[in-house]
Amino acid sequence: MHKITATNDFVIKFANINGTGSASANNMFAKSIFRSGIPVTPKNIFPSNIQGLPTWYEVRVNEKGYLGRRGGVDFMVATNGQTMMQDFQEVLPGGYFLYDNTKPLAPNYKRDDIQLIGIPLTEICIQEYADPRQRQLFKNIIYVGALSYLLNIQFEVFQKLVEDQFKGKEKLITPNLHALELGYRYAKEHYTDTCGLKIEARDLNQGKILVDGNTGTALGAIYAGATVAGWYPITPSTSVVDAFEKYCKRLRVDPASGKNNFAILQAEDELAAMGMVLGASWNGARAFTATSGPGVSLMAEFLGLAYFAEIPGVLVDVQRTGPSTGMPTRTQQSDVLPAAYASHGDTKHVCLYPADPKECFEMSFNAFELTEYLQTPVIILSDLDLGMNDNLCDEFEWDDQTAYNRGKVLSKEELDSLEQRWGRYLDTDGEGIGYRTIPGTHPTKGSYFTRGSSHDEYAAYTESSEAYVRSMQRLEHKWDTAKTLVPKPVISNSSKSTKVGAIYFGTSTQAAKEAIDQAEDKQLHINGLQIKAFPFTKEVEDFIEQHDYLFVIEQNRDAQMKTMLVNELEIDPKKFISILNYDGMPITANFISKQFINVMNQDKVTPIQKADRG
């Protein structure tokens, strides 16, 4: 039988039951790879449930540093009877299937192209532990111990991990180490030289961290000086506020008084959450909320107000699979269009698209700077895959020379020294942005009435068509200013000159880059462009201009980013070929490269531009 053999390049998947303690064991496994110095990408595929439903954890090990999903499973750890057959079938030919052989496999589990690795997890636990909860929990640790042997991961790595994990709870160290040893020993006794997948320690993770995107976003908000968070619980965004609170409690409690230099308020719904953000931002605090698609639908009302009345506010949208309730624990990039144009009337919003936790951290800070400078809401479009999974990225960095740019805000002294009549919505320096005042600043100057109804340059209510058109045109002018301030795209040129481009953003980035390399191996050359923000900057327009046709890779059904590119930049839609993954699972490199190759090989026979343009 052919056995898959690979060193530091494989996919291992764990099939578990939700609520059985598998998550921490699986995390420990992923971290052991990270600490062995090899790039690793774990993905948690979990149900909308607290206990009892199937959950999976897929770990990609790749020393070349490809961090997207690859597709396919080389090694399955199957501990869930409900999904065992499906998991059994999913293993690639030549792969490995680790299962609990306390009871023999049913006769219908027949494959002669994979290697079975039976470990009597239940039996070992019954012998070792009296407490039923321990029997459950340690099963997970035992299979991790077995993997340590089978994949040749240094046992010391686990020892250190257990010690770190249970710092302060030393009593738990010995039993966990013992469980790891039980698994290790059993595998060593029964499966010498069985597994062709190996981990060889490297030193590739210098300067890297393994962290979830929501933590990055939350830390970005801390470093940006955000003080107010109004929010409503919703998967997969809840952990943004959880992390914000955790670090606030650590870093933002006044040591002398014990009082909080922050306020986090759980709202009654997403409407109120966004209202709190706008109230606080209007009043001069940096404020944010975190939600997902269903929350964005509700917040649309306030986003329109913020756009028209020009109030800052940061909204973190950790996208999940829509429409409606959709699949709450699966990923998608399907709020791209609704976020950009949320609310009635002519509205549009600045959007940022982070691709890894470091970008979450940076863009979170960036969002606060932009929202205050532009006096308009800024939406960070993360997603479940990025937000809730640990992602490998560069360490977070902060320049201590940074000063917050609070934008065009008049102080008491500035109000006193004004020579001309101040108007809240007067564009005095040509950027389309007026000077605002914070309530309480000056006893007699600078007060104004903020409203979502039509107003003139002096914030007075107006039904004058001319004044309305002037203000809408100024907002359009401000939008042009935004184009010069938002993060620029990242271009990755092919080794050879080519007229084919690929556009990707957010969590499609890693898989897209790998797919471009896969195509390159077949002599098909593609230049890549990672979009980081909406509105689109000049660089995006130029890149499209420079190519005959471009793939647009996104994780939604309706090609939302393509629609925006076509509409905003007035591009012929035939210039774009969409690659769309919307099954709720993170997009894979194989899925993308297959379509690259199909299209480009066909293009060699009948060039696409000619064919399409007739």
Partner: protein, 350 residues
């Protein structure tokens, strides 16, 4: 369009303790219908702030959408105002208050803005005991859309269209008492003598203070069959008593015999002094307040005045443990932990 008053003032206008004249608290000219109850309430808010010597720029006026929500443009022109979206003023006021706890927040809303589209936010801002004054200009109808019944219209009451309202009404005072408000009062736009001390006490109260002010809509709901018409309210209103607001520095000289008068000290040291008209009412008891409101309702009458007062309830900031410094005044040094700390945070992700 908004009008701007001529800036001509009589040189001997009376000034308050901080040197402001009453005119310094005025706003733009009202664009509401002539005779609208709302304008009287605006005037009472203005008068209260003048008498309390509050600096106008230390007040934030918050509102939603509707006739009532327009009024913040018509008083305290030197204060910032925020006319937000329909029914959402409470959340915007909450955010504003979280950002700066040092301002006085006066929220103005209507019966549609509060009891229908904004019922959820109203309930929750009460629960959180946000330090604000929440004034409902309650006329039982939707004025701006031409007189539809609102959720506070009494069953059987008929507006200009003449059709009696078939639905139960929401009593905002009872709701607020049940949800834990510390200060609850009802008044009438036509009774400034009652309303002004109530507003002054509400501003001095720390925590959520509701004043539900019946404010007749002269255009759509001032009919003979309406229970929110001027005539009906005047004939059927019964005050819980007369009411004085005693600022901190004023020495209490008059002696009242016990039983008739109750004095309650507010958080800031000022006091309300009540000369009770109804012996049954214990202002510190939720149950008593609810009983009395219902007892008068059964007689077809409207109980006005202070209904409930508990000056010792912790407000939102106290419950959250927020620093006394307004959050919008914290400095970079207080907010940003710096790169050294970030390095150690990075270590925890390895």
């Amino acid at each position: 369009m908004s009008f701007i008053r001529p800036n001509i003032r009589h040189p001997q206008l009376k000034v308050n303790e901080i040197g402001y004249t009453r005119a310094d608290y005025e706003g733009a000219l009202s664009t509401l219908c002539a005779g609208c109850g709302h304008d009287s309430i605006s005037a009472s808010i203005l008068q209260s702030c003048f008498e309390l010597s509050i600096e106008p720029h230390k007040v934030a006026k918050m509102s939603g959408i509707g006739c009532s929500s327009k009024t913040p443009a018509y008083f305290l022109g030197k204060s910032h105002g925020f006319n937000s979206v329909h029914g959402r003023m409470p959340s915007v006021a909450t955010g504003a208050n979280l950002a700066n706890r040092d301002l006085v927040y006066i929220g103005v809303s209507g019966d549609g803005d509060t009891a229908s589209i904004g019922m959820g936010q109203f309930a929750h801002v009460v629960r959180r005991n946000l330090n604000m004054v929440y004034i409902v200009m309650n006329n039982g109808c939707y004025g701006l859309t031409k007189g539809q019944d609102s959720a506070t219209a009494d069953r059987g009451s008929a507006s200009k269209k003449g059709v009696p309202n078939p639905f139960s009404s929401i009593d905002l005072c009872e709701t607020a008492i049940q949800l834990g408000a510390g200060f609850v009062a009802r008044s009438f736009s036509g009774d400034k003598e009652q309303l002004i001390p109530l507003i002054k006490a509400a501003i001095s109260h720390r925590g959520f203070a509701l004043i539900d002010v019946v404010s007749p809509c002269v255009t759509f709901n001032n009919t003979v069959k309406s229970t929110k018409s001027y005539d009906h309210v005047r004939e059927h209103m019964n005050a819980t008593g007369t009411f004085d607001f005693v600022p901190l520095k004023e020495e209490i000289t008059t002696q009242y015999s016990p039983g008739e008068t109750e004095e309650i000290t507010l958080h800031d040291g000022s006091a309300v002094r009540l000369h009770k008209a109804t012996e049954n009412l214990d202002f510190s008891s939720r149950r008593s307040a609810l009983n009395e409101i219902e007892r008068f309702k059964e007689k077809g009458e409207i109980l006005t005045g202070l209904l409930f007062l508990n000056p010792q309830t912790p407000d939102t900031h106290e419950m959250l443990g927020t620093t006394p410094t307004p959050l919008n005044k914290l400095t970079y040094e207080q907010l940003c932990p710096g790169n050294g700390t970030l390095k150690s945070i990075n270590e925890s992700f390895k």
